[in-house]
Symmetry: C2
Subunit: 152 residues, 2 copies
DNA sequence: CAGTATACGACCGTTTCTGTCGGCTTTACA
DNA sequence: TGTAAAGCCGACAGAAACGGTCGTATACTG
């Protein structure tokens, strides 16, 4: 619970890897998979999803592979997770629009929805670039928290 | 993904319900289950877990039931979730102490660990009391974000 | 003693997640 | 022009987690 799927993890790792090797025009799924010891075919599917979502650009054929569609600074962790795992809600009753299917008394969702937004905000503020720099992503998170707070 | 389990939801709902009825000495699992349309036996197990974790006090026998072990202000959403779903990590490689089992190169975890702490901080700052007051828990979340930011 | 409630463990059906397989298309390069 | 390296896509199987039920034992009240 409250856990990223391995797919999302793999996706983030792959994008980070791409961000760390900007000199290479295109890295194949296998390259990345080997680098991290990830099942190659699984990673391939993940990268395909990210391509469909517009986060990556792909190039088939020999010497083909994937490259970031945008600057690493312009890709947020949120986008990656969203592309792979779909929209996320912290509450179990996922139907965003309509309320909880159980009883109308399920008033707990509303406060938790705020938490959800907070988390989403934090993830949106973290870019692939931040992951690639081993630096202090905490700094970013700090700024993020401030930003998120203001928007609540 | 990044979703609370229904069990955790139920637990939060139940605690909220207890917080809203402080005048009653003890509410049985069935009482709460009926109020929300939750499977009674499932809720019972959840409440037992919360009791073992020290968030509730139980009393068997007639007119028995559960009551908050502490003031609603002193019980955080984090504690409830933790008691029910166990320790949570946003990353898939859960083993907190040792690194990722895949490769040592799994450097993505470290930045995400910060995110994890941020989320935990937000959840820790939200009390059952906050859930019970229909008010603006956003206010709390706002303060929380500020606080969390400072501790990073 | 009888009834009500918690406590606890075993179990099962469903879903979700993870990973694999096979076949197809696209491209580069010899 | 043919072959190998890559992406693309759907189906599927094994494993794990989740949600829920049942039965029984234990504790307390009156």
């Amino acid at each position: 619970m409250l856990k990223l799927t391995k797919k999302a993890d793999y996706g983030l790792m792959a994008l980070k890897y791409l961000a760390e090797h900007p000199e290479i025009i295109a890295l194949s799924a296998k390259d990345v998979a080997d680098a991290y010891g990830i099942p190659a075919q699984l990673l391939a599917k993940i990268l395909q999803q990210l391509t469909k979502s517009g986060l990556l650009k792909s190039h088939a054929g020999m010497n083909g592979g994937y490259a970031l569609a945008r600057d690493a600074r312009q890709i947020s962790a949120f986008e990656v997770i969203h592309a792979i795992d779909g929209p996320f809600f912290i509450t179990s009753c996922t139907k965003g629009t309509k309320g909880c299917e159980l009883t109308p008394s399920c008033t707990i969702k509303e406060p938790l929805a705020r938490v959800n937004e907070t988390i989403a905000g934090v993830l949106k503020s973290i870019s692939i670039q931040d992951l690639a720099e081993h630096e202090q992503p905490a700094k970013k998170a700090l700024e993020a928290s401030g930003l998120v707070a203001l928007t609540l």
